[in-house]
Point group: C2
Chain length 206, copies 2
Amino acid sequence: MYREKIQIKKSEIAVGNLQKIFSATFKISGVKGFQAMSLRDLSYESGISMGGLYSYIGSKNDLASMIEGVLRHHIDLVTNNLIEESLAPLESLKAIIFGALYMMERLSPWYYFCFMELKGLPRERQEKALEIELRFERFLIDGLNRGEEIEVFKCENSDLLASQITAQLQQWHLKPWKFKLKNISLLQYADYCYQSLLNGLDLSPG
Amino acid sequence: MYREKIQIKKSEIAVGNLQKIFSATFKISGVKGFQAMSLRDLSYESGISMGGLYSYIGSKNDLASMIEGVLRHHIDLVTNNLIEESLAPLESLKAIIFGALYMMERLSPWYYFCFMELKGLPRERQEKALEIELRFERFLIDGLNRGEEIEVFKCENSDLLASQITAQLQQWHLKPWKFKLKNISLLQYADYCYQSLLNGLDLSPG
DNA sequence: GTCTATACGTGGATAGAC
DNA sequence: GTCTATCCACGTATAGAC
């Protein structure tokens, strides 16, 4: 990705420096926010000079867009894999929940950034970022509706249940301190979220 | 509040202008974020000159702090009222949910601001703002534990249930577009949240 | 490929007239 | 009480040496 936009030819160097830039961005904007982060801050934290930065990022806004793009790319990959597996409704819903949490764990700063710094992105990107959430919810709703059709369970309010689950999952990257404070592991939380989903359903006997 | 900090003596004028300033702040920072809002933007939107602004706000950061302070003040008032009422556990939990949503509806931009622009505030204020959420959750947990003691219901995981409910409630100000899109009213949503809470409990027969 | 030096604009804040 | 004019610092971005 972004091979054309970046002025550095040797991909080894480029990837390494991009990583430095991204993680420095996450570190600083995690503390003071992306808007408040100056490129001088970024230069200092990443160890790359101001001039050097511009071989990689084009502009400050561009940097935010890149981050959003990378995250969306990853999510698309995983989503497509899940679709191809075509599991039974409940199994599929479970896989969505566990998969989403696993992604959030691995890409936690990316998610957090895209949630909190949405307004920093250009309008077009903002909408795409919201689309991520909407697509995810529709994915859940599909699973719920399919389950109802096959009569595995009943669900009165699939819209609200889906957004409840979405909100719960987002907590994992939005408020990691809560879970550290109470010593909740990823798996425990995934189980709990899946349980909440089941609690929102009328499971048919058996 | 803040009478001493503000240089304007006539309270009628002061209150009116403060309202202009606050709502202009919400409008602008709702679009581009607080950090990206310049005082020139604010001056234009509020109709008060740059110089004039400084009779009210002290500094840009001070403005953010004031907003956080006003919200916390309101929440404290309502919370104290609720405590004095000393209802039965389930009634109390229901009141907390409905009360919180009602507050969020009326003070929606204040909540949204304090959630999204936390990092704009000075550290001390940041912690106080997080404290709001923690106190709220502890309030829920208390209700849950009291219910267990009196054996009205069983609840295995009051911590996780409380933060689930908190997350659900926050959706109301964080993602109002979702609810408009699907035509969900405040009362419908309050009912749904209360229902989720019940779903998370083992209700004793009767 | 990476750095230093620099240009240029914008933003926060204040002084002082009205 | 409110405004205009102005100061100064900082932020983004670029040019050009190494």
